[in-house]
């Protein structure tokens, strides 16, 4: 096996307040993942076993919106350690479904989810879960984002296009391949 001429691009991913659908769409690149694996190293992700975000990462990919202290912390860490940050999917880009609670009071939302619609032992979980923010925000509502890839989820082709453009040293124009709700 030959060693790649250029060092591999390091990639970190995380999902915040999202459904993991964008990560599933990433996996949906199928056999192209094999080629991609020659060019990138996934150094931190729910898809791999690494427990800590490395000090310096080339590309950070965030799925999901920012709904809690934990999400905000993640986003800030990614911004700090990643040279380029990508908002992947509608939740990250515009709040999408998680942000649909925004017009309601948080207490009412919690009541609805954990008390009103529950038959047995209605209670609000408080141990080991992050505190929710009053308002859900897209990633760029909290930290600077470099590339936006809308879609719910963005199709595998769109994700591949964006990554491939970046690998080839070009600036991707995601509007060519994806859109809100795609």
């Amino acid at each position: 096996m030959t060693t790649p001429a250029t060092p591999r691009i390091t990639v970190a991913t995380a999902w915040l307040d999202g459904c993991s659908g964008c990560h599933m769409s990433f996996l949906d690149m199928d056999e192209r993942l094999v080629d991609l694996a020659q060019k990138i190293d996934v150094v931190y992700s729910p898809l791999v076993d690494a427990k800590e975000l490395p000090e310096q990462v080339d590309v950070g990919i965030l799925e999901g919106s920012i709904s809690s202290e934990s999400d905000l912390h993640h986003a800030q860490e990614f911004r700090k350690h990643c040279k380029l940050l990508i908002s992947l999917g509608d939740c990250a880009v515009n709040g999408n479904v998680p942000a649909m609670r925004n017009p309601f009071k948080l207490a009412d939302v919690i009541d609805r989810a954990y008390r009103e619609n529950v038959d047995v032992q209605p209670q609000m979980p408080t141990v080991g879960v992050p505190v929710l923010f009053q308002q859900v925000r897209p990633i760029h509502g909290c930290v600077n984002v470099d590339v936006f890839v809308p879609g719910c989820p963005p199709r595998a082709d769109a994700i591949f296009y964006v990554l491939n453009e970046l690998i080839e040293g070009r600036t991707p124009d995601p509007s060519q391949v994806t859109r809100f709700g795609a």
């Binding site: 509608d90 124009d173 859109r179 709700g181």
Partner: protein, 243 residues
């Protein structure tokens, strides 16, 4: 169906659009001429067959030598005009307009019945709106499901007033109107009574078909199922004007 035959007494003017020469009837608007010649101009409130509203401002174009931008839908062609339809300045303004529309109400495309068949969604993509730079207003808007066949979701309304105009000008019922100012602005049925209680609504559904978004839809549709059919409008509009 071809457009009506030109009247012999209408003058013909020559003008330039994006560096190309065109001739047009003097009673044509800039957007009509552009559409005839397949020059893309984004628009939301403009609709062939309805009166001109000029509210969405997406069809703004530049006229060389004139600092003020003009709406292509409400500007008549004139001799010697030099029009630019896609400058960087226009792209920037159009992008901002689309972003403001998204920020104003709750257009959650992924769960909209019009997903994939929505003019706002399509325009956002065309204008390169891959995110919204202003904060969302996050205000809850009502949904009126009182009509047995149709539904009104104010969260997805962009106030283009196509529904108001088609109901008044084509159906002749004038069920729809606009109430309130600024961010309180709403389309209403009758005197702001529930749609299902309207005494003037004929249930024809023209408003639903011309609505560019998922604001007016058929009951019983789920995400992505609401496909609109606007073929009736140019036919009916021409017959009306021919009378």
């Amino acid at each position: 169906m071809p457009p009506p035959a030109p009247q012999p007494n209408v003058r013909v003017v020559t003008l330039t659009i994006d560096g190309k020469d065109f001739s047009a009837r003097a009673d044509e608007t800039v957007i009509e001429l552009c559409r005839e010649n397949k020059i893309p101009i984004p628009s939301l409130c403009y609709m062939d067959g309805l009166s001109i509203w000029g509210a969405c401002r997406l069809c703004l174009v530049e006229i060389v030598g004139q600092g003020r931008l003009v709406a292509a839908c409400s500007t008549r062609v004139a001799e010697g005009m030099n029009i630019l339809t896609n400058t960087e300045r226009l792209q920037r303004y159009r992008r901002t307009i689309v972003e403001l529309l998204f920020a104003e109400r709750n257009h959650v495309c992924s769960v909209c019945v019009s997903n994939g068949h929505c003019e706002l969604q399509w325009l956002a993509q065309k204008c390169g709106v891959d995110h919204v730079r202003v904060p969302y207003r996050q205000v809850r808007n009502e949904v009126d499901s009182s009509h047995e066949t149709f539904r009104l979701d104010h969260n997805r309304c962009i106030l283009c007033t196509r529904c108001v105009r088609v109901c008044d000008e084509i159906e002749g019922a004038h069920t729809w109107d606009v109430m309130g100012r600024g961010s309180d602005c709403r389309v209403i049925t009758d005197l702001a009574r529930p749609w299902g209680e309207s005494e003037t609504c004929t249930g024809c559904g023209k408003c639903v078909q011309v609505c560019p978004t998922g604001a007016l839809v058929k009951q019983g549709t789920s995400a992505g199922e609401m496909v609109k059919d606007q073929h009736f409008l140019p036919i009916l509009a021409r017959r009306r004007h021919a009378q």
